[in-house]
């Protein structure tokens, strides 16, 4: 991926990606899992994995979804089959950086994320700290994720992870 963007272009793209991430966080904070797959391309890839794995070159994902059908299957499982206590989430996304754009227009970017989780009758806690490693493509409907790797630092998942990062 060559970084062949002028500072102005990079700034404009960064703003566009920040807008994208704001909508992404808004959907997940509303627990609107059904709209979550729409942030991806039809063949979009989504993975949540520990930094420990990335550093060791390990391929596993806590969540490993290959394509929008599989993302929709996960959304449906969250809504209809998985059993869990009610919770609220806040996704805080910042430090967006555009790393480059390739000849086909795929944009490589990154951002930090923090997820706050609130269980009923309990204090709000930091659930996960991590980094999005993204590839965006421009479609007729605006930017879409061709891939989003959510690489988390948080070494122990508190109990379990129900909703996507």
């Amino acid at each position: 991926m060559s970084s062949n963007l002028s500072p102005a272009e990079a700034r404009e793209l960064r703003f566009e990606i920040e807008e994208f991430n704001t909508e992404y966080a808004r959907a997940l904070d509303a627990l609107d899992v059904e709209s979550w797959p729409d942030f991806f391309t039809e063949d979009g890839f989504y993975r949540v994995t520990a930094r420990e794995n990335i550093d060791a070159g390990m391929t596993v994902g806590l969540v490993w979804c290959d394509g929008r059908p599989m993302l929709r299957d996960r959304a449906a499982a969250i809504r209809k089959t998985m059993v869990y206590a009610p919770r609220w989430l806040r996704h805080l996304i910042s430090n967006v950086r555009v790393n480059g754009i390739d000849a086909d227009g795929a944009i490589e970017a990154e951002a930090n994320y923090l997820i706050l989780e609130t269980l009923m009758e309990d204090e709000t806690r930091i659930f996960q700290a991590g980094q999005y490693r993204d590839v965006f493509v421009r479609t007729g409907e605006g930017l879409k994720l061709k891939s989003r790797d959510c690489v988390y630092d948080s070494h122990l998942i508190p109990n379990d992870m129900v909703y996507p990062a």
């Binding site: 420990e52 596993v60 806590l62 449906a76 998985m82 059993v83 206590a85 109990n159």
Partner: protein, 415 residues
């Protein structure tokens, strides 16, 4: 009840094994006794897969019970484990999760240990210019972290603090070995990565969860909805090793009819309005010499071996006091997997783990159980299903292997 206050005698309910008192999950006194008699006692505890330590000098941090240990492979290829504690001032000296080293040096005073855990150097042992230093009789051979006994089977490494533990194959027993070997004996493992989560439940609840096939078709709506497991499918529980270890086995059968009565009992566990868009996800690719598509093994006291369709892994239980446990998951495939199979395993990994379609259900249920124990005034639960059996059984609607575990537990714990 959180403590034993007001219940000075740890007396098991008179009804016997069908009734389990809450205090085995909540009492600090019980936890201390478990540590001494079970984890530090005559048991084999999982500590590593050899595939995690392929080269001489490779090491990892691990645990026996809640005791931190270092696992190493020495220059000759032998596996060792020793307490992660400096013999001098007690520092937990190995801080990296894993790595490669020729020796370990405690940072505080630079005492040095070799890959077998033996103390090899003490700076200023003879003092400085004739002053200070260790007493003349100090012998490095008398000091060093406690070293553990090691046993391996097909690349799975177990350790014991006890010299009285029986040989590993006897400890596991034939019924456990049979299904264990299906996963480990024939092909070389390839580690795919790790998950870690902290569960707010007593460590024994994880064993019980997998010795309780009754929940599988009721809690796990996903299993029932996509016919991965329903009552009436072929299933069995195999128990060995003094009732401690169990293998929950089932065979996915897409043609199996679900009878009207079965369907009625499971009415809240079905979603007839759901279909998978990605059907490939739950495909089983035959690859094992076994009639079972699923075997979940609970190996006392700290190992789960998961073979669920084509997703494979082990779970290492690290108890953290009576109310919590850490789960360290190592997911793996085989060295000879082709690209399609490698991808299939990663994909099917979504079933299990801290974000798995089934994993979340179990983790939540275990937490809810612990919440019940901690906060209520009632003081016992019941495990009465399938009363004619204790240990193995061939019905899902059974708690027979929970009872066989607790017969053994009570003996070891004097309860």
């Amino acid at each position: 009840m959180d403590t034993m206050d007001g219940n000075t005698e740890l007396r098991w309910p008179e009804e016997g094994l069908t009734h389990i008192p809450d205090w085995i999950y909540t009492s600090d006194e019980i936890f201390a006794r478990e540590r001494e008699r079970i984890f530090l006692g005559p048991t084999w505890n999982f500590i590593a897969l050899e595939a995690e330590l392929p080269r001489p000098g490779d090491f990892k941090r691990s645990y026996v019970g809640d005791v931190p240990v270092v696992v190493t492979r020495d220059a000759d290829g032998a596996i060792h484990a020793f307490e992660n504690r400096c013999a001098h001032r007690g520092l937990e000296f190995c801080r990296a999760l894993r790595g490669n080293a020729s020796e370990f040096i405690c940072p505080y005073h630079q005492w040095m240990y070799d890959l077998t855990g033996r103390l090899k150097a003490v700076p200023f042992r003879r003092g400085d210019r004739g002053k200070g230093g260790m007493p003349p009789g100090f012998d490095m051979n008398d000091h060093g972290p406690r070293r553990l006994n090691i046993a391996t089977r097909h690349g799975v490494v177990f350790a014991s603090f006890s010299d009285d533990v029986e040989p590993l194959d006897e400890y596991l027993g034939p019924e456990t070995l049979e299904h264990f070997d299906v996963v480990f004996a024939n092909r070389k493992l390839k580690v795919l990565g790790f998950y870690r989560n902290r569960l707010n439940g007593n460590w024994k609840l994880y064993h019980e969860n997998l010795k309780d096939p009754y929940h599988a078709t009721l809690l796990h709506v996903y299993l029932a909805t996509f016919r991965l497991m329903v009552a009436g499918q072929k299933s069995a529980m195999f128990v060995s090793g003094k009732g401690r270890h169990a293998t929950a086995a089932s065979a996915k059968d897409d043609s199996a009819e679900i009878g009207k009565d079965t369907a009625a009992e499971m009415k809240n566990a079905f979603r007839d309005d759901m279909a998978l868009e990605d059907q490939e996800f739950i495909r089983f690719v035959p690859e094992f010499d076994s009639p079972w598509t699923v075997t979940m093994q609970t190996i006392w006291p700290n190992l789960i071996v998961q073979r669920e369709l084509n997703t494979l892994g082990i779970r290492h239980i690290v108890p953290r006091g009576p109310h919590a446990m850490d789960m360290y998951w190592t997911m793996f495939g085989y060295e000879d997997d082709d690209a399609d199979m490698a991808r299939h395993r990663l994909k099917q990994g979504n079933l299990m783990g801290p974000s798995g379609y089934l994993g979340v259900d179990d983790n939540e249920a275990i937490r809810f159980v612990q919440d019940g124990f901690r906060h209520s005034v009632s003081d016992r639960g019941i495990v009465m299903l399938d009363p004619e059996n204790e240990g193995g059984t061939d019905t899902l609607i059974s708690e027979a292997s929970i009872r066989s575990l607790y017969r053994h537990y009570r003996e070891v714990m004097d309860l």
